[in-house]
Symmetry: C2
Subunit: 295 residues, 2 copies
């Protein structure tokens, strides 16, 4: 723990990363979810993805989602785009900020987007030329299921290249849940802490990694309402770090997120009803620590 | 993270705290589980509880469990006892170390054991006079579902009283999963760090609390193989901090536990087959970070 007043930028990725692995949900319900998140105080949301609806059916209708949103004046709405064509579609739909993924793992990048890392850097350079701020999300930054730990110098070098070609910001993603506090500190020592962190609970380490990163100075986190998303496993299935789990931790530390936990739990209940199953978040299941037993 | 070689005493409570909430399992299978834990390198185990078999059917046969164990010479076998009678039975069965619970929350103590806190202190004093080392486990040390946060001075004072009346050691328990890194640090600042911590994943905070406590200097933790035990909730059900989740974290930090993670995961698989359902541990579900994808 470190002392003092503090605030954290929570980027809510549930409407994109959380829902993309679920059965498709109607555009109006995705819009309703985002409205509930805004109502809870969320002011930074990855709302959709301009990918092929054939490849990712649950992300179909991205332009319709964007045009139906009524974001508060101080809210940032981001769309994930896979390539220049997607970025153009997002811009046409009125999106003003983009996120694009690239992997620190050559093998993962090849399997995920069928491009070399160099080709992905070039693609991000082309997207950045459109003029919208681009957040470059570096996947497998804390470990790759193919190569294990990527050298931190290579992760840092890739980050520098991405900023050099025009990315506005960097997010380091723990795509398959391989981060640990030790690894988080090692990577941040190489990249600096002016990055966002996108953490997964695959191995139950999302929250402890967020805490270690916060201790190290990171003030931007991607989270998903309910903890939806990520790679499903047969037992102990868990996806992204849950927004409510992070807000619960940060509230207790006195760190300002602007998000109201009770209203966020209402949004979490909404997403559970929309996907038709319980969400992995344990704070959603058990309630916050401040909710005492009836007398 | 703090630097340097380090070791942690992991007290495995799965055979007691983990199994007590499950349907009863045969004594021979409970003994088999403990043997698998010894085989994984566990050297400190809460093996059973000398409670009324009517009250806790799954803990019936405690004396039979103890007499069937073949612990390694350097292993410590502990039994939980509810009162002096239980302690005498444990001693008769050949147990040489005891654990006894008491609550920092007067309301919880009253509901759980129908005694005032003072009466529980007197009971522990009487048990300690038998001459076996007694670990006093202070429940609700990090929050009570009835009173919220108990004053840390009161938690520390109760700990001092327990040592004064003969308890050999203290364990602070997060009985209903209300601990947070902030609260852990506040309590430890009052009690000192020469305590064991018994943490729960009710709100998904067990691992981050263990990390915060380890950073503060705590070197004794109770964990349960598979993460069994604790209060079940409808969604996101989770019990004790899972042994494999803590060992996975500590291994990565270079902290010695003496436990082999692969063999521990075998014991976790055994307990899942014995209870007939998947265990909550996410490392059990997804495997350790060091287990890469096939080439």
């Amino acid at each position: 723990m470190t002392a003092g007043a503090d605030s954290v930028d929570v980027r809510e990725v549930g409407p994109r990363d959380g829902l993309q692995a679920e059965a498709p949900i109607a555009v109006r319900d995705r819009v309703r979810l985002i409205a509930a998140l805004f109502d809870a105080g969320v002011r930074h949301v990855e709302a959709c993805s301009f990918v092929s609806p054939k490849a990712v059916p649950s992300m179909a209708g991205a332009a319709e989602v964007v045009s139906a949103l009524r974001p508060p004046a101080d809210a940032r709405v981001v769309a994930l785009v896979p390539n220049l064509r997607g970025a153009e579609l997002a811009g046409d739909a009125g999106v003003r900020e983009l996120s694009v993924t690239i992997s620190a793992s050559p093998a993962y990048n090849e399997k995920n987007v069928r491009m070399s890392v160099d080709e992905s850097v070039e693609s991000i350079a082309a997207i950045a030329k459109l003029g919208m701020p681009v957040d470059a999300v570096v996947s497998c930054a804390f470990g790759s299921p193919y190569e294990g730990d990527i050298a931190v110098a290579a992760v840092a070098e890739l980050g520098r290249r991405l900023l050099d070609v025009g990315a506005a910001t960097l997010t380091l993603a723990d795509t398959t849940g391989m981060a640990t506090p030790r690894r988080v500190e090692e990577v941040l020592a190489a990249t600096g802490t002016d990055v966002g962190l996108h953490l997964h609970e695959t191995r139950g380490t999302g929250l402890v990694n967020a805490y270690a990163a916060w201790q190290a100075g990171v003030r931007r986190f991607d989270t998903s309402v309910g903890g939806l998303g990520g790679s499903p496993f047969a037992a102990g299935a868990a996806g992204n770090l849950a927004t409510e789990d992070l807000v619960h931790l940060l509230d207790d530390l006195g760190v300002v997120t602007g998000i109201d936990l009770d209203r966020l739990l209402a949004a979490s209940g909404l997403v559970a009803s929309l996907v038709g199953h319980a969400v992995p978040s344990r704070v959603a299941g058990a309630g916050p620590r401040t909710r005492l037993a009836p007398a």
